[in-house]
Amino acid sequence: MEQRAKPGTTYASESDNDSEVTVKLRKATTTILLSAATLLAPSALSAQFTTFVAPPQKQAAETTAKPLVATGKAKADSVSRMTLTDMKAWVDSAAGTSTKLAAVNDTTMPASNPAAPLSPEADAGHRTTTFSNGAVAPSTATALPTYLVTGLLIFAAGFVMLRRQRRT
């Protein structure tokens, strides 16, 4: 017991060191928590602002705001807003008898709409398989002659190279 009460003993100095370490750890933890709170505070505040609900305005202001909101929603939803105009041209186009629809201006769909019928220029590469009035001539082009000539050239080049190798 005397040894414990005596100041300056080894036991007493170890206990003081432990308490100092604990205090330092607390300070460090507090610092980290404060820093984190400081960093996260702006986002938390902004998040609070996003959930802000405006108070109801006067009747006159609502009547002018409603059409604007509706127009914006309709612009965002391009599928529901697409209106079919000139149905006869569309039906003819679907039946393959006319490409008039391609010339109709459609402001609701982008120009590169893949569902739109091809223009005559774009459709030019289409291969004729059945007769129709004004059809292009059937594609009689074949790459076989090209293959034949290329193959013969390669064969000849290989033959020449082999002969040269044998001579050397």
Partner: protein
């Protein structure tokens, strides 16, 4: 590459022979059927839908010594075997435009030698007769070149230029009209019935 080309040409030659044999058998059957029809009803036969690759006509062009059986369809397989009849067009000898196409490196390799005034002969199960070439033109591959006609018309098409390395950019179109008095058999249907 050379082997592949030889294989394709060989396959086309075999199919051409098969089409020729089938054509001859078909002609024999058609002769018997027409005789039966005439005996029973006094009419001259009929036209039915033809499957792709089946022989539909025979084509002679004396000037370039061409004698080929024409098969139905203008797909790769059909054109590799023989000149192809464009589905939906009239058969030779029937009212309307009859369109026959072939590759420039195969059956129509000498089509460029034909000139206005040269004759062509065709034979189907319904009729046989001669044509005279009345127009010869070269059009772009994407240019509309085939049109309906009320009068019987024969149109032959192939790639142009005939001697060309790569895919030919143009088409050679020959139009022919029937030679009066050279036809045997009866025309029984229009192009819309085929």
């Amino acid at each position: 590459m050379v082997t592949y080309v030889a294989f394709e040409y060989g396959k086309g030659a075999l199919r051409s022979d098969a089409a020729r044999r089938q054509w001859e058998e078909q002609q024999a059957h058609a002769t018997v059927n027409m005789a039966r029809e005439r005996a029973s009803r006094g009419s001259a036969g009929f036209l039915t839908r033809v499957a792709a690759g089946a022989p539909v006509a025979r084509l002679w062009i004396p000037r370039i010594h061409l004698d080929e059986v024409v098969v139905e369809g203008v797909g790769d397989d059909e054109l590799n075997a023989a000149p192809g009849h464009l589905p939906g067009s009239a058969l030779p000898g029937v009212s309307g435009n009859s369109v026959i196409s072939a590759h420039r490196d195969r059956h129509f390799s000498r089509l460029d030698e034909l000139q206005i005034g040269d004759t062509i002969q065709t034979e189907t199960s319904q009729s046989k007769g001669s044509w005279v070439i009345v127009a010869r033109r070269v059009v772009g591959k994407d240019t509309p070149a085939l049109f309906q006609t009320k009068q019987p018309t024969l149109t032959l098409t192939t790639c142009w230029p005939v001697r060309y390395f790569g895919n030919a950019p143009d088409r050679l179109i020959l139009s022919a009209r029937p030679v009066a008095g050279s036809w045997s058999g009866q025309v029984t249907a229009s192009a819309g019935d085929i």
